[in-house]
Symmetry: C3
Subunit: 396 residues, 3 copies
């Protein structure tokens, strides 16, 4: 229950982070998107997703419990029966996870995607795709049987969201003015305090994301998970800061913040198996990697306003593989299994995300008009400003 609350607060963290790192003329649009995802994510998961994901003992590919939450006295009674950890809380906790996958996509496609198609994509991704592939591992499906390990979702949540983000950002193309004559023109965010609030709230939420994944709340195991989570985050932030300091002569705040997130994403797959030093090392590598990845995606002109692909996809993969290097079963065999998991989720996510975005692009279009993009989505899609009283300079 507590952990569902903490994971809930992650959605506020995502909303403020994405808002802070983008321009003020698209703020209302981003807040609408993030609010919508949370609401519809919960509803979609309640009416469709939950039953698709658990228990999954049917055939290992799709959960067998039918669509949505089973209703009725019996379901409720069994919830009481298991003591301590209950059915409804489990649902809430998982619904928050499911909505996270769509929120990750939201950051990468910000400032240029049409609201309607984004909503359609999110709904299908959360309600159907996420739970089906989720059941491969957490529903006891074929990857679980194989021995693939992902404690709290470096792959199942973060890379699934990250692949969607990659496809979305690629198919939309970069924001107007981001790459001019082959050169990268930075588009700074409009509020660093909002971005920082976002990352602190996400860190706090991760206490619930990872801590809550110790489902029976064993105090020893839970507190170990919290320790590894914190150490990885604390290593990732300074690692990214010093990397950016070395590369560009200035300690960069956005990179430090993304470094913290990178550490959090990376530790998630093995948070219950790591020790002090392996957590530190996983976070350190993640923090360095995220800076290089952000540079890389800019070089190939994939425009990701908040760095979501670098954080969630790249570091999600790193964290998943790290279980094969530092985890309890570390070795070539486990590393291979982790790779199989990474590739399976990658293939499925790429396929489905591409199919959905392609269909939406052909069907209704996914990108706003260029004039609307320059004016800002707040005015064009919502008819209002986010900051009514302030004098804004939106020449960039």
């Amino acid at each position: 229950m507590l952990c569902a609350g903490l994971v809930f607060i992650m959605h506020l963290g995502f909303a403020t982070l994405e808002t802070g790192l983008t321009r003020s003329k698209n703020t209302v649009n981003i807040l609408v998107k993030n609010t919508f995802i949370l609401c519809v994510g919960i509803l979609a998961y309640a009416f469709f997703g939950f039953g698709l994901m658990y228990p999954g003992d049917f055939n290992g590919l799709i959960g067998s419990a039918g669509l949505g939450l089973p209703i009725g006295a019996q379901g409720l009674t069994s919830a009481y029966a298991d003591g301590g950890y209950t059915y409804w809380t489990d649902f809430l906790f998982q619904a928050m996870f499911a909505a996270t996958a769509a929120t990750i996509v939201s950051g990468a496609v910000a400032e240029r995607i049409k609201l309607g198609p984004f909503m359609a994509f999110s709904f299908i991704y959360v309600a159907f795709f996420y739970p089906i592939v989720g059941s491969w591992k957490w529903g006891g499906g074929w990857l679980d049987g194989l021995g693939f390990y992902d404690f709290a979702g470096s792959t199942l949540v973060h890379s699934v969201g990250g692949w969607g983000a990659l496809v979305g950002a690629y198919m939309l193309g970069p924001r107007h003015g981001k790459y001019v004559n082959g050169r990268v023109r930075p588009i700074p965010g409009h509020s660093m305090p909002l971005a920082t609030i976002g990352v602190f709230l996400l860190w706090l939420g991760w206490f619930g994301f990872n801590g809550g994944s110790v489902l029976n709340a064993d105090p020893g195991a839970t507190s170990r998970v919290l320790m590894t989570t914190c150490i990885a985050a604390a290593a990732g932030g300074p690692a990214a800061m010093y990397t950016s300091w070395g590369l560009w002569k200035k300690p960069d705040l956005s990179m430090s913040l993304n470094g913290i997130l990178a550490g959090l994403v990376a530790i998630t797959a093995g948070a219950d198996q790591m020790g002090l030093f392996s957590s530190f090392f996983i976070g350190l590598i993640a923090g360095i990697t995220v800076v290089l990845a952000v540079s890389f995606f800019d070089r190939v002109h994939i425009d990701d306003p908040v760095g979501a692909i670098s954080v969630h996809l790249v570091c999600g993969i790193w964290g998943t593989l790290a279980v094969g290097i530092f985890g309890d079963m570390a070795g070539l065999k486990q590393f291979g299994l982790q790779l199989v998991g990474v590739l399976s989720y990658g293939a499925a996510s790429l396929l489905v995300a591409f199919g959905l975005f392609y269909a939406l692009k052909k069907g209704v279009g996914i990108r706003v008009h260029i004039e609307d993009e320059i004016t800002g989505l707040d005015l064009s899609e919502h008819g209002m400003h986010a900051y009514g009283d302030f004098v804004i300079d939106d020449t960039h």
Copy 2:
């Protein structure tokens, strides 16, 4: 204890929501008001209110435990005796509830009320009125005996606050420039991120508000309450968004946010009795209702800057009546009892709020001078700006 913390955070939610939906020139004033209410609410409840509300076995109209918290070793000992849920926590939890009633009023009277009279009103409402009428139900008073049901305060907290808000907004009159020549001129808020942060924090706080009202923390019952609370909120937000989209051709962020709150207020009365579908339906109706109510109050020229009356009063009534429609005892008899409760609290609140505001208006005046209102209360009442460094355009 956890839940007292969550309900505490609701006060930050109310403060940021109210701040975000109003103009930057009144921001300091709103923050002072909300900070003051929280502090004085806690003190007032500790020294006066708590004893007035519980146990209420005296005569069914006023609690019999004397004023305030009973002091001394005996009180403390009995707190230890009941195990798990203790006296002091109960006090804190209830004090946070009590302060909520005054905070609701704060939003509706924002941008034009004098600080001193508002403080006087809040103090009396929290210290004396709220606990006395609260004891009618939660202190085991006459409405409890009758069979009226209000799980966590759709009526006892939200409509009590909402009636006060209605009276306050009516007696103050609209803000300068809101209704010009019979037409509504929207006065946009100054920070949509602050407003969104507010609603997310309120939603989180509601986990504690409703979840904590399952006083013995039975895991099954608590998690059911969290599920119903979340489903209603998640239904209310999109319902309000699509309603505004249909009416005004734009998906409105403020309405979506108020729709979430509407769902939360409405589910509060029966959060422990509803199922998946009834929660969904209650939230859905609340989300649609709140948009229509905001329009209605604008049409009758009752100026409520944040929509507090529509959210807390209108949807508080809807939620209370819904217990008679979907609850465990649903039927004409229960519906009648719910109506009796709604009307009783309505009559008492209207009477007392009107008496207090009338006395203050006649005695010292409740509205700031028109020049001060145009300048903004921050400068006129507090001698400072909320945003010292920013260039502000306050022509509206």
Copy 3:
């Protein structure tokens, strides 16, 4: 675990409070500092501090457990053995405390200190100094043996940070333009909502700071601590507001916020020993004191942008002494012991903070160039603006 989460959120509170009370041109710098302190505080405490502080049965001056967290199966096993409260959680909780001491310094030296030297100071203060002096009391050292009492750190955390803040602010000198021709020129903060968010989050975090210090989570004792904490905060806020109202004819928001913090700091030393009235009185005195202290430090031209010295040092001392006046062992003897503790920590902190800042000043310089200070540290040290889209008036 919950309490570690709450204390974690205090760091977001400190970051937003310090950001809100300073100018927008130094916002990125402050966010970098606060993010860094949290990360490095956790790492420093994990690799060095924790073992220096506990169990301290060696000689009463320095903890004997060696550097950092003991690694290995045995440590983990013993963590499981004690049930309910575990080793790793204890570490996290204490690491958050340790980082708090450095964060307090951060506020007082804001807007003019060089990033590198500040990082060096923070690292040494958190990794070595804080745990060594912390062990004098919480590690069972000589002050614990003597009978000095400090429940959750009015002296061990807040005054240790406060003395460092005093030394730092004194050695840096005031910000450019703060004292002109012997007169105080107020430099207003740039965002009162951020400052208010900070204080509310700190208050919430204090639930964990004090509540979590009841290490075994006894519900009766914990809820008593939450009650005393809340009452002191609720008394401190209005006390400071009315004091400022009386002195300067306007109810001051910054003072009200600092009054709440003053009450929280002051109750911390004896939160488990106070009753309703003594908590109220301790908070009341703290709220009045903090306003007078802020005036005093301005009069002696010690420039503390956020009031950290007044809040954490002055009210930390008051709270520690108050245990000798209102606590369970109240009397001249206990008052004397409290005074010994205050003076011992004062002498040690002054000595070490002075030594560190002196060495850094002579070695590399601690203050940025005057042109960089006028331009703002965001541009000069980080090459970016915190609010890219807003038109800023930074003539003050």
